[in-house]
């Protein structure tokens, strides 16, 4: 009996093990490991087996490349792997099962780097003067065409007493003679013959257009190399550098020197610019004083909106000569408010419209004050589009028409210019809509980039040019009637652009400087600090304003920035040589942008004033989040996400060094 019991138990246990063993399925891949050359193909054979190695013919296997592997290897449904780029990668294998007992495994693939095929030496001067230093660019490519940076460079010249090169590409010519520069990587060499000639220069002169200036003023240094006969040597490289001593030990001297001789200082002090070319050098000191542009600013009035978020706004002079404003609302009930701002100390609501939307993100008014346009997002029928409003009497505004064609995805921003509306569509393009008859608007054209994954955030019109902000595609300048490129509203023609590396271009505003330079100010929008999960704490932005010198349209140069620590740019306005910029949690910043621009404008003390709209009765209390700013008849108007519409005034510029005489 005991024996029978034992046998029964034995069979029960063993059969359980057997069942367990059958359930322990895995994917068996042949070959068991894979190492490929770039361009090589191999086919994986994957089957599902049990613990005893028995194939499960009813189980299928799906292959795909894992994370970090997708642009380096491809794998098709038959298991064929193609190696594209060197590195260690993974193939993921899945065997599905309708009962949920899915098998998932990872399979490693090594793709060997292709052998080095080419070493290129770029920017090698044809004639090199002894004693000078030039920058050489070294590029290494493998047989697959990839540029390789993970390689060791063996650098030498055939005669190190004539010239030598460091690993950063700095070529120092030591004495006249000939030699060959050689850079070798894994047996492949790039070379360039060097001819070093006697340096005819015996003297270096350094001059500048100013001897003293304020922080932020741009100097132009000019270096002249002269030979022993006093003749200028124009083809020898000159390097510029500077050192400085701050007037105040609490601050460190800093600034920017460009290799074309432009120099700007950030803090007051004595700065010395040094030019060198071989053994010749020259220096010149300049005195920098405080820019001293700060002025008092005071809040004049406040039109409170405390039950919902406020978005963009526009201030204009009405047909009756009085001054009015319109503000949008955000994430709310589709309301736009109209205000009387004639007395900036007494801003009050005079009318409103409510449309089927959650957000009226943007509002604009025509030049003649007759038509207001507002954008819609979050319409219940998902048609969104724009609303055209008769605002001849801002105290009794009337909706004239609703236009949704091709704008169903939501209109985030818009502009009105000479009877046309420029309305963004679903963040992809802008449509140009003829609203000369406001009751019967119609599309006349559109502007859309063709780059992969293009998008757009804003468009601004001035002097017949549309300045659109296109995130990674940057600032786009489009002729819609200026004539510079033969464009018109019916035929918009792009003629210039500039994209900066961060890809955060959110707004653009043109600035014709009194210096004659033409800048476009590109603003970021960034929120790297995320959201408050509860939604009731102040938000914090990042990003800054980029100043792009478009004086040469085909060669735009990013020259300066304005950045506020721990705050981020949004919308802004330029009047004369003053910038009025909303910086979300940083409030409104008033900035002197007169003169040529270079470097860090904030550090240069160009900020004239700032004002932060803190409101204890705001939608989110004491949480400034300023949306935009506009100068109108000497007052700064600004809208704030949490508190509504505000006005402020800068104190007038006072004559410097003038004492008031009492009578």
């Amino acid at each position: 009996m005991k024996k029978l019991l034992f046998l029964t138990l034995y069979f029960v246990i063993m059969s359980s093990f057997k069942t367990f063993a059958q359930d322990e399925l895995s994917i068996r891949v042949t070959p068991p490991s894979l190492s490929l050359e770039i361009g090589e193909k191999a086919t994986l054979n994957a089957i599902v087996v049990d613990q005893n190695g028995r194939e499960q013919p009813d189980r299928k296997v799906l292959f795909y490349a894992g994370r970090q592997s997708r642009k380096a290897i491809t794998i098709d449904s038959t298991g064929q792997v193609t190696a594209l780029k060197g590195g260690n990668y993974q193939v993921i294998l899945i065997s599905p099962d309708t009962s949920g007992k899915r098998i998932r495994q990872y399979y490693p693939v090594l793709v060997k780097d292709a052998p080095i095929a080419k070493v290129e030496l770029l920017d090698v001067p044809e004639k090199i003067y002894a004693g000078t230093t030039s920058r050489i660019i070294i590029k290494v490519f493998d047989a697959a065409g990839f540029e390789r940076t993970n390689v060791d460079l063996n650098i030498k010249t055939d005669n190190e007493s004539v010239a030598k090169l460091d690993k950063y590409g700095n070529l120092t010519a030591l004495k006249p003679g000939s030699t060959t520069l050689r850079v070798e990587v894994e047996g492949i060499e790039g070379s360039s013959s060097l001819k070093i000639v006697k340096n005819p220069a015996v003297k270096l002169e350094l001059a500048s257009d100013m001897d003293a200036a304020r922080t932020g003023d741009v100097f132009h240094f000019k270096a002249r190399l002269l030979d022993k006969n006093g003749k200028e040597v124009t083809d020898a490289p000159v390097k510029f550098a500077f050192h400085g001593e701050s007037d105040n030990p609490e601050y460190t001297a800093s600034g920017v020197i460009k290799q074309d001789g432009r120099f700007v200082a950030d803090v007051p002090g004595l700065y010395t610019v040094i030019a060198t070319s071989g053994a010749n050098s020259a220096m010149k000191s300049v005195e920098i004083s405080q820019r001293n542009v700060s002025r008092k600013i005071e809040v004049i009035g406040h039109g409170s909106v405390s039950d919902k978020h406020t978005s963009d706004f526009w201030i204009w002079q009405g047909k009756d000569g009085k001054d009015y404003g319109v503000t949008g609302t955000w994430g709310a009930d589709g309301t736009a408010y109209f205000w009387d701002v004639t007395d900036p100390a007494n801003i009050f609501k005079i009318d409103s419209v409510q449309v089927d939307a959650r957000t009226v993100n943007d509002v604009k008014v025509s030049e003649d004050g007759n038509i207001c346009i507002i954008s819609r997002e979050g319409a219940s029928n998902r048609k969104n589009g724009i609303i055209i409003i008769d605002c001849k009497n801002p105290a009794d505004v009337k909706i004239v028409s609703t236009f949704t064609e091709n704008l169903t995805g939501g209109v985030h921003n818009l502009f009105i210019d000479k009877g046309y509306v420029y309305a963004l569509s679903a963040g992809r393009k802008y449509y140009i809509i003829d609203i000369k008859d406001p009751a019967n608007p119609f599309i006349v054209s559109d502007f859309e980039l063709e780059t992969p994954g293009h998008s757009i955030h804003d468009v601004w019109i001035e002097d017949g040019i549309a300045y659109s902000s296109n995130w990674a595609d940057g600032i786009q300048l489009v002729d819609i009637g200026n004539g510079i490129a033969g464009g018109s509203p019916k035929n918009p023609v792009q003629f210039a652009s500039y994209a900066y590396p961060s890809g955060a271009n959110h707004a653009s505003f043109p600035y014709n400087s009194s210096t004659g330079k033409f800048y476009v100010v590109g603003g970021d929008e960034k929120f790297p600090y995320g959201l408050d999960p509860e939604g009731d704490k102040p938000s914090r932005a990042a990003g800054f304003l980029h100043f792009i010198d478009f004086s040469e349209l085909n060669k735009p140069e990013e020259v300066a920035r304005f950045e506020i620590p721990m705050a981020g740019s949004h919308n802004y306005w330029i009047d004369g040589d003053i910038l009025y910029a909303a910086f979300y949690n940083g409030g409104v910043r008033v900035v002197d942008i007169s003169g040529e621009l270079l470097g860090d404008l904030y550090k240069q003390g160009r900020e004239i004033a700032w004002i932060i709209p803190e409101d204890p009765r705001g939608f989110v209390k004491n949480a400034p989040f300023t949306w935009g700013a506009q100068l109108h008849k000497g007052h700064i108007f600004y809208s704030d996400w949490n508190s509504g519409l505000w006005s402020a005034k800068l104190e007038p510029v006072k004559p410097k060094n003038t004492k008031l005489q009492s009578r």
Partner: protein, 374 residues
């Protein structure tokens, strides 16, 4: 005495019934918020309103939501981006962020196959040109998009067959039903849903057309000129028996029964205005449909194929439907208009009436049933 006993038993039954707790996730598309709601059989309790997205001053539009078959994670599509939308992964319960991956234009509804473990999300491209869009196939463990399968114009309503081997979606503007082989990641069958064929956007190669150069001002996009699908399907839901599926004909105001064996429209049931989302009870007996335009919820008996109840929702613009795993309750999201709060109506499927309503962020839309527990 007998009455007391019956009352006692009834009380006991009610206590038992009410001791069940149901958990549901609902998105608020114009609030950038997802709510986790508990329903105890009588009332709802919002456990958390979670802010989603990263841009405080931009609406990112949480649209589609699903809970994975294990119940450990929930997935959310944020429709708007620059320009592409994003799929987010969170832990259920703690609602802790896990990972994200960028998908196509306006990613919307999605579901995970229990067979492959992969997530299939339609790229609705709601506001783009009328060109065929796609279904993104995502590995939710790695959060990588492993394939993008071209389907119809404005694909919507991604749902998986009970065995996990097929994904179904509809092309809203091309009027097509697509079946994707979930393992092979290819369209295995396509069905035209319109009775009379209009302009077949699914057959047109819009990629070769320059829509930007069309003079839209001369076209009547109000549908008189260009003929989009009359059916305008917005959702498809397979039946648990694997033999049938049901399509919401949002444009034709009908529910279409699809025979998955013969791959034909086997029946068309006229219904209220604007059927939008559909769910079928896990026991296979009931179909619940949101009537978006009418602001109502319909309950259909799938044994008689008759509509047994039409319930007016708590506000306008009814959106999504999710039925509890015990087939007792339907949770229905309601968008509202403008500044209205969004809502979730709880419908008792034994009484065909709304039990309670939870008020949520604006434009409540995507809805996913998580779990029921005692």
């Amino acid at each position: 005495m007998k009455g007391i006993l019956v009352s006692f038993l009834l009380l006991l039954f009610c206590q038992y019934a009410h001791s069940q707790e149901y958990y549901v996730y609902v998105t608020a598309e114009s609030e950038d918020e997802v709510s986790l709601i508990k329903f105890d059989g009588v009332k709802t309790n919002i456990i958390e309103n979670k802010a989603v997205g990263v841009w405080p001053a931009e609406i990112e539009g949480p649209h589609g939501i699903t809970v994975d078959p294990s119940g450990k994670f929930w997935y959310l599509s944020l429709a708007h981006g620059n320009p592409y939308g994003t799929l987010y992964k969170f832990k259920t319960g703690s609602n802790e962020y896990v990972a994200k991956v960028e998908l196509g234009l306006f990613p919307a509804s999605m579901e995970i196959s229990k067979a492959t473990g992969l997530l299939y999300c339609v790229n609705f491209n709601l506001h783009g040109d009328m060109v065929p869009s796609s279904v993104s196939v995502v590995d939710p463990e790695e959060m990588i998009e492993i394939d993008r399968i071209t389907t119809g114009v404005m694909p919507h309503g991604s749902r998986i067959s009970p065995d996990g081997l097929y994904q179904y979606s509809v092309g809203m503007m091309s009027g097509e039903l697509f079946e994707i082989d979930a393992l092979g990641m290819k369209v295995s069958r396509k069905l035209i849903l319109d009775e009379e064929k209009g302009m077949d956007h699914g057959q047109m190669d819009h990629s070769q057309m320059d829509h930007s150069k069309m003079d839209h001002s001369k076209m009547n996009h109000g549908m008189k000129g260009m003929n989009h699908s009359k059916t305008k399907p917005t959702w498809v839901m397979p039946h648990p028996d694997g033999k049938r599926a049901y399509v919401a004909g949002n444009g034709s105001n009908e529910i279409l029964e699809i025979d998955l064996t013969t791959w034909t429209v086997s029946s068309r049931w006229p219904c209220e205005k604007g059927p939008y989302n559909i769910d079928v009870s896990p026991d296979g007996n009931l179909l619940v449909v949101s009537y978006k335009t009418a602001g109502k919820t319909g309950i259909w008996d799938l044994t008689s194929n008759e509509q047994v109840a039409v319930i007016k929702n708590s506000n306008k613009v009814t959106h999504g439907v999710a039925i509890s795993s015990d087939s007792k309750y339907a949770f229905v999201s309601v968008e509202g208009i403008g500044g209205d709060p969004g809502a979730m109506d709880v419908v008792d499927l034994t009484k065909n009436e709304i039990v309670t309503t939870a008020y949520l962020g604006k434009q409540a839309g995507g809805i996913a049933f998580w779990k029921v527990e005692k």
